[in-house]
């Protein structure tokens, strides 16, 4: 964490290698958050790039006293993901009609790129599919807690909601995910 703050200071002084180091340290985590939220590799890649662009532009506004750099970056990522979700909402309205039918859902899943098919096992693919069917506020809470292993206080900082709301969203998200998986006929082992 201290190393991140030091790298940020070096970046602000114009050190390109410090920025490169920051990108290398956090790109995988940010890409994974984006992928788990969108369920689409190309979108996740574009969004990750947008996240780093925004971080680079607003690096001066980061204050280490307000929390870790990773948490701050996660907040930026979350805001961009929500923006992206709202922007693409209209496209998803038509998709949601298809989502109601499991057969069509499976068809969508099988239409993934072959490398994605190989990357995700069948079970992982089904869990990922169920995750993307959660509402965005429940999805982001579950991703941050159960995939990114963030503490409640960190999630509270990222989502800018009280801790009680964080717990409630995680709880509801997990129950909803279990229901969706059950509807899909999946029982993860």
């Amino acid at each position: 964490m201290e190393q991140d703050a030091q790298l940020v200071q070096q970046c602000l002084q114009g050190d390109g290698s410090a920025w490169e180091e920051l990108v290398r340290r956090h790109s995988r985590r940010i890409f994974n958050i984006c992928y788990r939220f969108t369920g689409n590799r190309t979108e996740a890649e574009d969004l990750s790039q947008d996240v780093f662009l925004r971080v680079y532009r607003t690096l001066g506004s980061y204050r280490s006293a307000h929390g870790g750099f990773a948490t701050w970056m996660t907040s930026v990522t979350r805001n961009l993901l929500i923006d992206h979700y709202r922007r693409t909402k209209r496209d998803r309205i038509t998709d949601s009609l298809d989502d109601a039918m499991p057969v069509v859902e499976n068809k969508q899943s099988s239409a993934r790129r072959p490398d994605e098919q190989a990357l995700l096992g069948e079970l992982s693919q089904q869990v990922q599919s169920a995750l993307t069917r959660l509402s965005p506020e429940l999805r982001e809470a579950v991703i941050l807690r159960d995939l990114q292993q963030l503490e409640y206080s960190e999630i509270q900082t990222v989502l800018e909601v009280p801790e009680g709301t964080v717990k409630s969203r995680i709880n509801r998200g997990r129950i909803e995910l279990a229901r969706i998986l059950q509807q899909m006929g999946v029982r993860p082992s």
């Binding site: 790109s27 780093f52 709880n171 129950i175």
Partner: protein, 235 residues
């Protein structure tokens, strides 16, 4: 404690995170074990969580970092032409690379030389691993045989030297017992010399044939032994 299905949903996260107090946990367990609605709920969420946590962490796409760096720091300068060649030479000429290359070359030379490779008439076939192994094995056996022969030669020489020393010491002791003031005169001897005692003469006569046999058997030592024998005869 009266426990409801709503409470099960409410406290489910705390229960799964292990953050529930003992009395609440017991009430939770007691209700879930007896409730047809809550049992599948808890097991379903538990299984969903295990599925979530089993999701693999994906690798970063190969071009992502470069794309981000290009978009933020601008495209990196690519070196071409002679500048690229000079940059490559600078990398090769680094001390670390040079030491590594030298040690590798020295090891290779040592192995090839030890295998009996002929540097004056080099043949590509001699560098084949099977030939290197065969030649190295042959060289090792030759070196062992030479060493064994050298040691056995040394042993023979030492034995001869010890015998001669033993023979030379014998008359000296006898002469020491005779007082100088009264030299022993031999009848019929007029040159004034003092020949060896008969016993010593007999011993020398006994040793000479055996040394001759050794000299014939060991051509390497023949010159040295001939010299030793001739010395023995003149005495």
């Amino acid at each position: 404690m009266k426990w409801t299905c709503e409470q099960t949903e409410l406290y489910l996260t705390d229960y799964l995170d292990g953050a529930l107090a003992d009395d609440l946990r017991h009430a939770f367990d007691a209700h879930v074990n007896a409730c047809d609605r809550c049992t599948p709920l808890v097991s379903g969420v538990t299984h969903a969580l295990s599925g979530l946590r089993a999701l693999p962490e994906l690798e970063t796409p190969p071009r992502l970092v470069y794309n981000i760096l290009d978009a933020t720091l601008g495209p990196r300068e690519t070196v071409t032409g002679w500048a690229a060649v000079r940059a490559w030479i600078r990398g090769v000429a680094s001390p670390r690379f040079a030491y590594g290359s030298l040690s590798l070359a020295a090891t290779f030379l040592m192995i090839v030389t030890a295998s009996g490779f002929n540097w004056k008439k080099p043949r590509l076939a001699d560098l084949a691993p099977s030939n290197i192994y065969r030649n190295t094995n042959r060289q090792a056996h030759l070196a062992y045989a030479r060493g064994t022969k050298y040691v056995s030669d040394l042993r023979v020489v030492y034995e001869i030297q010890s015998r001669l020393r033993q023979d030379n010491e014998l008359p000296t002791n006898n002469e020491g017992t005779v007082p100088e003031s009264s030299p022993q005169k031999e009848p019929g001897r007029t040159d004034g010399t003092s020949p060896s005692t008969p016993r010593q003469q007999n011993r020398a006569n006994d040793a000479n044939p055996s040394l001759q046999v050794l000299a014939e058997e060991l051509p390497v030592l023949s010159t040295r032994l001939c010299f030793v024998l001739s010395e023995g005869r003149t005495r």
